[in-house]
Structure formats: structure tokens, C-alpha cells
């Protein structure tokens, strides 16, 4: 019975996922090719919110059941019925096309190791972190579509469900570390970007990412992720979306807490606030679509939207 169900849901899932993938693929867009997103920081053209409107909803058996339904409908094609990342999209590509159809393996929820966390390296993410990742999507047009169009209840439900795949959430509850705080990013200018380059050298980011940020540092060859698959240090001059948020706060979080499950380490203990923002703007300045003018305008627009949201509350 379980096998039958699994097979049936796989077939459904492959269909669903291809549909999602198709509908999100911009005309002529190919992985690795320059595709202009909506803006420097926001890549998905879909409507919906990335920031949760509430702190979540209480987990009940009913919510979990609803979460399973959402998971079966939208996620198993990639993440697999067992939540181990061995969904049909991952497995069948290997089987029939001789190569995986995704550049990175879908997350294995049974290990509960997450890249995108506001919490220190080695900690579980907060529910809000998961909410944002699922809403924003990861490396759009390559890894995982954005699900920000889903009703919030669906998103909280599927979060409760994917957490049920691992007992880490129970075992480590008493050791859970607090999220870091990320303040408001300063407006970028030339001096800040230049200072950031010095911080980049001081912190030896170039050992992996290379002196020009092209992902070709001396430690780059042979790196692997937790799944044992080859992984390259991000090429900052590549136009694709980051795994995390492309906003300055997102880059800040990436090198502060690290991307667990990958060689990308946490630098939480080494930089002061000013140096962090300098480094952030240096990294963002390497992106092909970057110029100071646009970045400043978008920062301004972001601040206005935020203000408007606060005023509406």
C-alpha cells in the first residue's frame, strides 16, 4: 500500500514540478545565462510575501496532516516522499538522462542541516528562517521555485511537516542558540566597497572564492557538500540568484552564520558591524548587474516599502 502510494505520488509530483518549473522559466532563460530579475535584490516575479505576517501557528495533528498534503502536492517531486532529497526529479534525471537535472541536491530533511539560518553555525534554523527560504525559493531557475504565492497557513503547515522528519528538533531543543541580529544596512558608496575588499583579504575569503571572487581560490578544487557532491565556492560575478537572499542583509547572514552542510564557514566571531557591511557591499558590487546608483535607489525603495508597511500596521 505504502509503495503504491509512493509510486502514485511520485508520478503526480513529477507532473506538478515540471509545471512549476515551466511556469517559472522565463522565455529563453537557461541556467547560468544572464537572466535579469525584477531587481538587484528580489529575483522572483511572483506575488506574495517573503516575511511572515505572524510568528507561526500552533502545531496540531490537523496542521501536520495539512502540511503532509502540501508536501505531497508540491515538494515530494524534488525532496522525496521520505523527505531525504531523493525525489523523482533528482533520481530519474540520473537514471534516464545520465545526470541530475538540478545543480544541487534537494535538502535532506532527515538530517535537518540547513544552509539558511539566522542562528549560529551548528544550530537549527528558526521557523521564520524556513518560512523565508520556502517563500523566496533558492537559486531561482536552478534549484527551487519560490512558494511565496501560497497561503501562509500552507507554508507554516509544510514547515511543521518537514520538521517531523528529524529528531534533531527534539534532541537539541535545550541547546538551541539565539538568532543573530542584523541591523539596517548603510547606503553603499565607493569608500565602503573599497574597504570591503580589504576585509575580504583580511578574512581570507579568497582562499575559496578567489582573489576576484570568481570562485577559483586555491582551496576551491575538490570541495564537497554533506551529500558528498562536488560544490564550488560561489562565483560572485555570476548573475544567478544566491541560495540565500540577495539583499544586503542576506549576504550579511551568509558569512556570519555560514551555510551549514557546505564548506562555507561562519565568520561570526571576527568582524565588527562596520566591517561586515563593508564586506557585504564589496561582495554585492562584484555582481554583473551592480552599479552604485541602482543599488542606492533600490535601498531607498526598500526602506520606503518597509516604512509604508509599518505605518499600515
Amino acid at each position: 500500500m505504502k509503495k503504491l502510494l509512493a509510486t502514485a505520488s511520485l508520478v503526480v509530483a513529477v507532473g506538478a514540478v515540471s509545471l512549476i518549473a515551466l511556469s517559472l522559466q522565463p522565455a529563453g532563460g537557461k541556467a547560468g545565462e544572464v537572466t535579469t530579475g525584477r531587481s538587484l535584490f528580489d529575483y522572483s516575479a511572483a506575488t506574495g510575501n517573503i516575511e511572515p505576517a505572524s510568528d507561526g501557528i500552533p502545531v496540531t495533528a490537523r496542521l501536520l496532516e495539512h502540511g503532509e498534503w502540501v508536501f505531497r502536492g508540491l515538494c515530494i517531486g524534488c525532496h522525496g516522499v521520505e523527505g531525504d532529497g531523493n525525489g523523482a526529479v533528482w533520481e530519474l534525471g540520473e537514471q534516464y538522462a545520465g545526470e541530475h537535472q538540478l545543480p544541487r541536491k534537494p535538502r535532506d530533511f532527515t538530517e535537518a542541516v540547513y544552509k539558511l539560518r539566522s542562528t549560529p553555525s551548528g544550530s537549527l534554523p528558526t521557523d521564520a528562517d524556513l518560512f523565508r527560504s520556502i517563500s523566496r525559493g533558492l537559486v531561482l531557475e536552478q534549484d527551487m521555485p519560490a512558494f511565496k504565492f501560497l497561503p501562509e497557513r500552507d507554508r507554516w503547515a509544510v514547515i511543521a511537516y518537514i520538521k517531523s522528519f528529524s529528531d534533531r528538533w527534539e534532541e537539541e531543543a535545550e541547546w538551541q542558540e539565539d538568532p543573530i541580529e542584523i541591523g539596517e544596512p548603510p547606503m553603499p558608496d565607493v569608500a565602503m566597497v573599497d574597504a570591503g575588499e580589504k576585509v575580504y583579504e583580511l578574512m581570507q575569503c579568497e582562499q575559496c572564492h578567489g582573489p576576484g571572487g570568481k570562485g577559483d581560490g586555491p582551496s576551491a578544487p575538490g570541495l564537497e557538500d554533506d551529500a558528498g557532491l562536488p560544490i564550488v565556492p560561489r562565483d560572485f560575478t555570476d548573475a544567478s540568484q544566491f541560495v540565500g537572499s540577495n539583499e544586503p542583509q542576506g549576504v550579511y547572514q551568509t558569512f556570519t552564520t555560514g551555510l551549514d552542510g557546505t564548506p562555507m564557514p561562519s565568520y561570526a566571531d571576527f568582524l565588527d558591524e562596520e566591517q561586515r557591511w563593508q564586506l557585504v557591499w564589496y561582495v554585492i558590487s562584484l555582481r554583473p548587474e551592480f552599479d552604485l546608483e541602482t543599488a542606492r535607489n533600490e535601498m531607498m525603495a526598500m526602506q520606503e516599502t518597509k516604512l509604508a508597511r509599518l505605518q499600515n500596521q
Partner: protein, 237 residues
């Protein structure tokens, strides 16, 4: 369809509860009429090696070399095996244990093997190059911290029991171990391969021997009140 959904759900919830039960904490309690356990760990088999092949920072990291994965003393005695008892619910107090330190020195983790209890660990860089100490439980990242310059220090928390392997993505050949034990009934063997575990509440337990190449070997043991039980283990493989 509906029914099977419910089945899966119940199963998941059951798992969650089972996990909670497993995480039960060790209780310190006076032990009356405890027994002792001692023996020698030996190895009789092929010793594998790994290769340290510095590709960068050669002036700090040294020359290419082969490193055996089992450290043998006289008569096949195994050094750096960690011997401990599993499933002890309560017993003697933890000894005073200093916070464990993982030192990166000459691109080697020092010490290579150490035992710790759940809690904090200090990670230190004694080299003038970037290291990143990346710990794993099995294949899953336990933490990954950059140590960008000499004397950089970071404190992390070992949250779960079991062997934590450490490597360095910046120097792929580096390898070290911290074995996080669930209770104070443990010992790391020296070059004579001997271990001795004292003051164990009488009862049936599982004796675990962890060794870098061989992994975990489990042996059932019975501890008798006021007596010394001798169990020597020859690891195979």
C-alpha cells in the same frame, strides 16, 4: 488514501515521542557497591592509511605523508580507542573535565582524538593561515567555523552524543575526532591499549569501543556488585 495518510502521520508522531524518550538525561547519584570493568583493546587486521598531501600553505603544513588509521602499541594494543558504556541512566558524578580544545597546528588537529561531554568546545588556530574547522555527526554538519588568522579562537557547542569528525575545507586532508560520551563511564586508551571503568552500578549494559578506522564495536557486559569484570576486546576488520 486518507487512511494511509493518517497512518504515516501517527508513525511520524510516534517517532517524535520515541526521540524524546531517547534524549533522557544521565542522572548523577551516589553508587553503592558498584563494580569495575577493565581490559585491553587490541587489533588484528589490516591497517589502512590516509594521505596528507598539502597542496597549499606548504611551509606551514609540511611534506606529503601517509598516516595510519590505527595506532598500534606492543602486542597489537590499540591507542586512541574510546571505550564507554551505553544506556547508563544514573551513576557516579562526572569528573572535572576541562573544556575540550581543538587546536589547528601545522595543519594537524591537536589532539587527534579526544573525549568530551555535551557542551562547549574551544577551537583554536595556531597557524598563520586560514583554517575552517568543520565538524560532522556522521555525514551531517555539526558546525563549520572560519579561523582566518593565527590565534583566532571560536567556541562552539557539541549538542549530541557520538563521534564528531572534524575536517578543514581549506586543507582537505586534515582529520580529527571528538567523541561525545553520554555518561562518565568512559576511557580513552593509551599506547598500552588498556582501559578501566570504575564504580558502575551493577546491571547489564552495552560496552562501546570506538576506533577511527573500525567505527563502533558493541559488546554486551554484565557488571556485578563489588567485583571487577575483565573484558578484553580484539577488534577485527
Amino acid at each position: 488514501m486518507r487512511r494511509s495518510l493518517n497512518v504515516v502521520l501517527t508513525f511520524t508522531l510516534a517517532l517524535v515521542f520515541a526521540a524524546t524518550a531517547n534524549a533522557a538525561k544521565y542522572k548523577e547519584e551516589a553508587v553503592s557497591n558498584g563494580g569495575d570493568l577493565k581490559g585491553t583493546i587490541t587489533y588484528n587486521g589490516v591497517i589502512k592509511t590516509r594521505t596528507a598531501l598539502p597542496t597549499k600553505d606548504k611551509e606551514v603544513c609540511g611534506k606529503p605523508r601517509k598516516i595510519p588509521l590505527v595506532m598500534l602499541g606492543d602486542g597489537g594494543a590499540v591507542q586512541d580507542a574510546v571505550v564507554y558504556l551505553k544506556d547508563v541512566e544514573s551513576g557516579k558524578a562526572w569528573p572535572d573535565m576541562q573544556r575540550p580544545v581543538i587546536n589547528n597546528i601545522a595543519c594537524i588537529f591537536e589532539p587527534h582524538v579526544q573525549v568530551a561531554r555535551r557542551g562547549k568546545v574551544d577551537i583554536l588556530n595556531s597557524d598563520p593561515v586560514l583554517h575552517n574547522t568543520h565538524g560532522y555527526y556522521g555525514k551531517a554538519t555539526a558546525f563549520n567555523v572560519a579561523l582566518p588568522f593565527k590565534d583566532a579562537k571560536v567556541t562552539k557547542i557539541l549538542k549530541r552524543f557520538g563521534p564528531v569528525r572534524t575536517d578543514c575545507d581549506a586543507h582537505g586532508w586534515m582529520l580529527g575526532w571528538v567523541v561525545v560520551v553520554p555518561n562518565p563511564y568512559f576511557m580513552q586508551t593509551g599506547s598500552d591499549g588498556n582501559y578501566s571503568i570504575t564504580d558502575v552500578p551493577p546491571g547489564d549494559y552495552t560496552l562501546v569501543v570506538w576506533q577511527e578506522q573500525i567505527g563502533e564495536t558493541e559488546t554486551p557486559v554484565t557488571i556485578k556488585a563489588g567485583a571487577t569484570t575483565e573484558i578484553s576486546i580484539e577488534l577485527g576488520g
